[in-house]
Symmetry: C2
Subunit: 261 residues, 2 copies
DNA sequence: AACTGTTGTTCCATTTTTTGGAACTATCTC
DNA sequence: GAGATAGTTCCAAAAAATGGAACAACAGTT
């Protein structure tokens, strides 16, 4: 067990609900001896990975991590490009937009553009959602061949709501729809009360894949706006796909969009 | 030499001009044996600190670092609050706004809000500027007693332009002005062609201090807009200072603002 | 297709760091 | 100021890191 792995574990302790940690936090969260926790936190601070909060014994991520973390979106320039596209759409229609990536069977928000409407969807960056029960997740899963999707769910799936796919076959059917229509849609699934529209795009040279998504409060969905969002997302993603030479991109087929969601 | 320190050194290799690294990059940048560089990068990837770029032998920061880095602004909630204030002002007037922190004799941009004007100032997040030759830097230095400022510059200072303070005494004189007026201003200093207005605020419980800044292309400065920016920044910062109980905040004294910059 | 320079990986014994229990110190709470 | 809680330091045993060199993969060239 290298100290590097303990250090990475410490970083994984941070979350949107835990902005700083103490020696005892590590003891309880990671089950590590107090002595190690104490020395590890100090070492990480000395190396510039963490900072102490004022005079207290609390440790938080450092400015260095903030800076290096910001580079992620440029290193994965696909994210930056997609974020720009979503930002423009979100600005124009006033609803929340965001970018997600998939890690195994989960999707994780990377960047977000909060909407301007009084009733808006707030997505927490860094939150993990089950891929099969969200539009971003299915948009990304649709890029995989069916057999790879199957291997992701050796245990089958447990749906969080009635509108989500109830089993693996239902999921594969919806992925087929996404491939044919060019966009993914969800309603009241992993996040209740939220309607989401997503399109995925990739960069074959880096292997990165992201989903571009616009979310609307489920009660406010209007057919005209919905079509505008689908068109805008697909158009933006198609431009990116052309740029990166993404051959797995599914172009929009409006015939599928015109039936109400 | 702990492996942690090597890992931190690797992270420091990343910059706005170097989004990924290879084994040889580490050998040349850090002078470490090839064998170590190879194993270190692999170990950091295995622990989730780095990712490989597609199939290549290039390594870039990971999603984990991106997420932990994002938490910085919430952990240091002063940054988040200040960022909100600057975002509103930047949105309203269309000029670029940003937040900086000081590390020793340098200031580093943490968040940025690009302006909407065709001619806009683009600030790179993570770039280091000399504190004494920027408005953000001086706004933050003004919070220190003079003798601490002196110890920061044991070698004196070398001004990057004629409008920057030419020596330590000139710097201290300008810091005194800032304490009296409540805001800092720079024109054509560390960044040529840029006029900047800054106000600093701190949080005594965490020891954090940040500068709120709005930048304008030097050719576009108008007295009325300038006064509006000064007032808005100072007002926003004053609210934060009240919230955190910052006793070192310098309130606005408009008498100083009304003489042209 | 063989050659060549470049880049990355693996192996090894030696050196250095890490580990975890326990004793110790500091800090907080009532 | 007693008692509890939180954090630090010490130590020998165990584990990991080091750097040189041999090896392997790769890209470009003739």
């Amino acid at each position: 067990m290298s100290i590097l792995s303990s250090a990475a574990d410490v970083l994984r302790c941070f979350s949107s609900t835990r902005h700083d940690v103490t020696v005892t936090d590590l003891v309880t969260l990671l089950g590590m001896p107090k002595s190690n926790a104490s020395r590890l936190l100090r070492a990480m601070r000395d190396e510039g990975l963490l900072e102490t909060v004022g005079q207290t014994k609390r440790y938080r991520p450092s400015l260095l991590l903030n800076q290096v973390g910001q580079l992620y979106r440029f290193a994965a320039s696909l994210i930056d490009r997609s974020d720009a596209v979503v930002g423009v759409i979100s600005d124009r229609i006033g609803h929340t937009g965001y970018i997600s990536v998939r890690r195994g069977a989960h999707v994780i928000g990377v960047t977000a553009h909060p909407g301007r409407h009084a009733l808006r969807v707030v997505t927490a960056i860094g939150d993990r959602l089950p891929a099969f029960a969200s539009s971003t997740g299915r948009a990304l899963l649709a890029r995989l061949p069916d057999e790879e999707v199957r291997t992701l769910y050796p245990e089958g799936l447990s749906a969080p709501s009635e509108t989500a796919p109830q089993d693996l076959e239902a999921l594969l059917a919806r992925l087929a729809e996404i491939r044919a229509s060019g966009f993914a849609e969800s309603h009241d699934e992993a996040v209740r009360g939220v309607h989401a529209i997503s399109v995925a795009v990739g960069d074959p040279t880096t292997g990165d894949e992201v989903a571009l998504c616009i979310t609307i409060p489920a009660t406010l969905v209007e057919q005209q706006e919905r079509l505008a969002i689908i068109a805008a997302l697909s158009e933006g993603a198609a431009e990116i796909a052309a740029l990166t030479g993404d051959t797995r991109f599914f172009p929009l087929n409006l015939a599928f969009a015109e039936t109400a969601p």
